[in-house]
């Protein structure tokens, strides 16, 4: 039944390794098996965890048919019997003490955790007293009750039904449960087989303890009175402790529970001051989970008006609330909150972002227009972005008819252009530059008043000369329309003269042409336009245009290098002839 033990262990897993958790899980484990009064004191200390145990055991109780010491029908004698059997479990747990090699020095703990001291029940009362005092030292809240002997309390269990403690649970549960802290702490990798070891070791101790506990009867009358006194006070504190469950806990305590992943309740924080104290304290802790918990609690329990008022004053809380809304896909509220916080740019961007995944261009356009109207144009600080969004709208509105008619044209198969260079994908939602390329490729010759005209696109989006040159040359080179490239690069000079000018530099023109497989004479023409001679030579070599290399060498007056080159060339090829021709020309002044 190791497995069932594991399921039960699960709540305890919240207790991340730590002394506090360690101790409380300790207590819980013990409380299940030990029936000593001291343990009830422990419960008072660890009130909350007790509550958990109750829930927890309520389930277990129905499943395991164990005798419950708090049942009404359990007589005092029966209790004594039960105590005897319970000692087995007790032993079991004290073994867990050894078993647990955690860094919290279990040996010292045992001195104030009374588990092993059950055996002292057998000793005369006079001896018991000091030892009890000693034992309770470590438990601050229970120290006041320390004087009385505990034996008497066993008789009183019938009255205190609050803890439905089962005893005599199966060993494996007992053995595996205390292993939890071990799991968390030990650096050694304890294997599961050790559970068996624990179980095996248990019976050996059984005898020792049971023999000592049989002498329970030898308890003084004096002690009985003292015990009864203690029981009264214990009852009182238990009662108040139970009330505490329904009382407001300090926010610090609740937040500590949240921080550790324990169960907690916020319902007692009724006043606004409490709610805000919780939130402010959570913010001071810097734990997002705690802040989120406090924010959502506030949001659920106060009016929207108050909530937003308080949120606006706490940027950290607001940020977490926003993250929650985003993760929850609650965008209307997200955007509203951003606007309330005065973060209009973020709100606009978010609205814009929401329109992006729309696949239908018409719907997208209307969403973008809406976003433009209600956000970007509403804030003068966003005018730059507004004009960009407007461009986006215009671009989409341009792309739609072009795409529609071109798709039809392509499908009909009547256009040679589309046959030779089929479209890779729909034009819709391509970027401005890609659209420009597309228009230069398929609609280069259209007039400026046509939608698909590159010139119209250029005008609308104020595309720079440089950008236009890059893209148009690329597109025309792809179609091997070398003439167009010359037209693009031609500028009108003074008095109607023309000259070639490349805003991107002729080296880049050459690179584009080379990439598109331009013939040598075209390359040569533009290579010659590169002003820097060394640069020109490099590029000529790079695109392996020999004539241009020769020209560059001539311009650089590097005869030696030219001779080397000429030697390598085929004497009767075009380049070879040219090279020798140049070498034989007497008009060139070599270095």
């Amino acid at each position: 039944t190791i497995a069932t033990a594991g399921w039960r262990r699960s709540p305890a897993l919240h207790f991340i390794p730590g002394y506090g958790w360690y101790r409380s899980s300790y207590c819980r484990v013990r409380s299940r098996y030990l029936v000593t009064g001291l343990f009830r004191k422990l419960h008072l200390v660890n009130q909350e965890s007790l509550k958990m145990d109750e829930d927890y055991f309520a389930v277990e109780h129905t499943r395991t048919k164990k005798k419950n010491i708090f049942d009404d029908d359990v007589t005092e004698d029966a209790v004594r019997n039960l105590i005897k059997t319970s000692i087995v479990d007790n032993d079991d747990i004290s073994f867990a003490d050894h078993f647990d090699p955690g860094p919290e020095a279990p040996v010292s703990q045992r001195s104030h955790l009374p588990a092993p001291d059950l055996s002292s029940l057998a000793t005369p009362a006079s001896k018991t007293r000091p030892s009890v005092g000693h034992e309770t030292k470590g438990l601050s809240s229970s120290a006041t009750f320390g004087g009385a002997s505990r034996a008497m309390e066993f008789g009183q269990f019938g009255h205190n039904r609050s803890h439905s403690l089962t005893i005599g649970s199966d060993l494996s549960v007992a053995a595996s449960s205390p292993r939890l802290p071990d799991m968390q702490f030990s650096s050694s990798s304890a294997s599961l087989q050790s559970i068996d070891k624990v179980a095996a070791a248990t019976p050996q101790r059984y005898g020792q303890f049971s023999s000592s506990s049989t002498s329970l009867q030898s308890i003084d009358k004096v002690d009985v009175e003292k015990m009864q006194q203690e029981i009264q006070s214990l009852k009182r504190s238990l009662l108040s402790a139970r009330k505490d469950r329904w009382m407001k806990q300090p926010v610090e305590d609740t937040l500590r529970r949240i921080l550790k992943g324990e169960t907690f309740s916020l319902e007692m924080y009724k006043s606004l001051a409490d709610k805000l104290a919780l939130l402010d304290h959570a913010i001071r802790l810097h734990d997002g989970n705690a802040i989120m918990t406090a924010v959502l609690f506030l949001q659920k329990t106060v009016t929207r008006h108050i909530f937003t008022r308080e949120l606006v004053q706490r940027p950290a809380a607001a940020n977490h609330y926003l993250d929650y809304l985003k993760a929850h896909y609650d965008y209307p509220e997200y955007i509203n909150t951003l606007i309330l916080l005065g973060r209009t740019e973020e709100a606009a961007i978010c609205k814009f972002q929401l329109a992006l995944p729309t696949s239908d261009a018409a719907v997208k356009v209307s969403k973008l227009k809406d976003c433009l109207r209600s956000h970007f144009q509403a804030d003068p600080a966003l005018c730059n972005d507004a004009s960009l969004v407007q461009e986006y709208v215009d671009l989409l509105e341009r792309q739609r008819p072009i795409d529609e008619s071109d798709a039809g044209l392509e499908a009909s198969g009547r256009s040679a252009l589309f046959k030779d260079f089929p479209r890779k994908c729909s034009l819709i939602d391509m970027s401005v530059v890609t659209t420009l390329y597309y228009c230069c490729l398929y609609h280069y010759d259209l007039g400026e008043n046509s939608l698909a005209s590159p010139a119209a696109l250029r005008k609308r989006h104020q595309i720079s000369d440089k950008q236009f040159t890059w893209t148009a040359i690329g597109a025309r080179a792809k179609l091997r329309q070398w003439k167009d490239i010359e037209t693009i690069l031609t500028t009108k000079g003074w008095f109607g003269s023309t000259k070639l000018k490349a805003p991107i530099g002729f080296d880049k023109v050459v690179a584009i042409l080379h990439r598109n497989g331009a013939p040598p004479d075209i390359l040569q023409k533009y290579l010659g336009m590169i002003d820097n001679l060394e640069h020109r030579l490099n590029w000529a070599k790079k695109v392996s245009c020999q004539i241009a290399v020769i020209d560059a060498l001539v311009a650089l007056k590097k005869r030696a290098e030219l001779e080397q080159l000429a030697a390598k060339l085929d004497r009767y090829s075009k380049e070879g002839l040219y090279a020798f021709d140049v070498l034989n020309t007497s008009t060139i002044k070599w270095k």
Binding site: G288, A327, S431, V433
Partner: protein
Amino acid sequence: MDLQELSKLLKTQLAHLLVSIPDAKDVVLDPDLMKPLDRVAGITFLKEHGVSKIFKLEPNQKSLPGCGKRVYIVRPRLVTMKYIADHINTEIAKGERRSYKIVMVPRKLHVCEMILESEGVMGHITIDEFPLELFPLDSDLLSLELPEFFTSFYLDNDTTWLHTVASSLVNLQRLFGRAPNIYAIGKGAKMVHELMETMFETHKDRKDKTFHIGQIFLVDRDIDYISLLCSPMTYEALLDESFGINCGMIDFDGEVTGDGKGTKMLLTSQDEIYTQIRDCHFSQMFSYMRDTAKKLQELENKKNNLQSVGDMRKFVGNDLRVLKQQQKLLSTHISASEAILKMKGKTDFEDFIKTEHNLLEGIENKENMTYIEDCIQKQFSPILTLRLMCLASLTQEGLSQREYKALKTQFLHSHGFEHLVTMFRLKKLGLLTEQESSQSSMRPAAVKVPAVSAKKSNFRALNRKLGLIPNAEEINLQHPNSLSYVFSGAYTPVPCKLVEQILTRDTLIGLEDVGRMCGGLYADVKIKSQVSSMPGPSNPAMKVILVFFLGGCTFSEITALRLVAKLHGYKIIVATTAITTSSRFIESLVEKVNR
């Protein structure tokens, strides 16, 4: 002190979690946790602990087949919870009976429980946690493998993961002793420190005051974005940039290995050759590899000089195996370096790096801008282009308004208007900003984004104070003496420089200005380490340093810290929320649209 202890602990915890469910069970894994879990435990480990089938959690699954017990091991995200709730509800509607357990890694969140409650599945499930926090990737490297930390904390100002960082440090110190000295650099670092103190408050101090880590540095990512954006120059960083190292694993495709099938490799200090070359500047790599090849050749020559049968047996038994293995490793590393060179050749690497270095030096501004514009106009890789744009903005402490507008518009024209969102994010983080003008300061104060970040770059002042860009002549790439060698001497990562400064000065005096520029420099020092002039036995653990990067670090920075350790005789362990590269970093901020 062995970081593998952490691995063992995690394994035990995982085993416990799995055996707590009796009989066979299926496991559904969050895709984000696949690699980390593989590294910590491995599939066989899961199988050994009663896992029969392993599924990957994907958005479109309506339900899953499998046996009657199912465990979800997932990150605590709202959308993941919704998927799980959908599974459960569909399966219940179909009449399938199953027990469900949801294990949230590293901890459960209130909002997640809330979603599960509101989806009505609370009664059918149990919730558990698996504190998979820091785990070792190498003998000096720990990671949370939580890349979303960066966007979550710095972009959205969400402090949820700070808890994980703090708790991982608390648990680490519980294992290795509480470090006496803690330095926090940056706002987030300070928060983590405070949270850590709160967590320590709730339990008693250990009696045992021994510690294995002497000093902890918590460093915020936002103190230095520049080092994230610089091109890597050392081998390990280049490998990560070119192929991607995921949890210490690298995937080489068939082209690299040359045999067409590719190979997977674990890159740790256990690979001797790798340990030698990982921190090498790329220009020095080949000489190292040549030397190693020579050594291996010598070893191989030994087989020709074997005199006796005994020698031969010894050779075959020991050397031969090692030899074969080393030869294989070496050849993989050589072909990987060749592949890197080839990739660099394809992009316009020389001009790119020249622009990058000029930007850092603050020279030839006009040419730099022209180069960036060219990159945009020829629709060169948007990620690389953005890298240069951000670098330009950071080094100039904001672009002029004209430049900003021009670059932004052109970038949007070139790569799509959706990047309006990208630009906003970069602006919010302070990566790509425009200089304040009188016009924009007229806006009401409330409009300002209240944020952890949104801060101005302090590059110039920091550079002046810390000397981040050394003289080119002083750089020795073969035997590095300056941290800047990781970027060919062009830049020194601020976090590494600060760690070095604080360690060698042993005081924060004189660093006040720097601290202010980094968003705060806080120290909690309990043991003043001996001033070097005072001889005497000091605790050797004081020489063990943990540097924790909030928001991720690059291998370049790890390499720089290894150099700090080497130069000053420390042992430095690097912990990080995730290991990143400039490309991955920018990509996490780029708006992607599914068209």
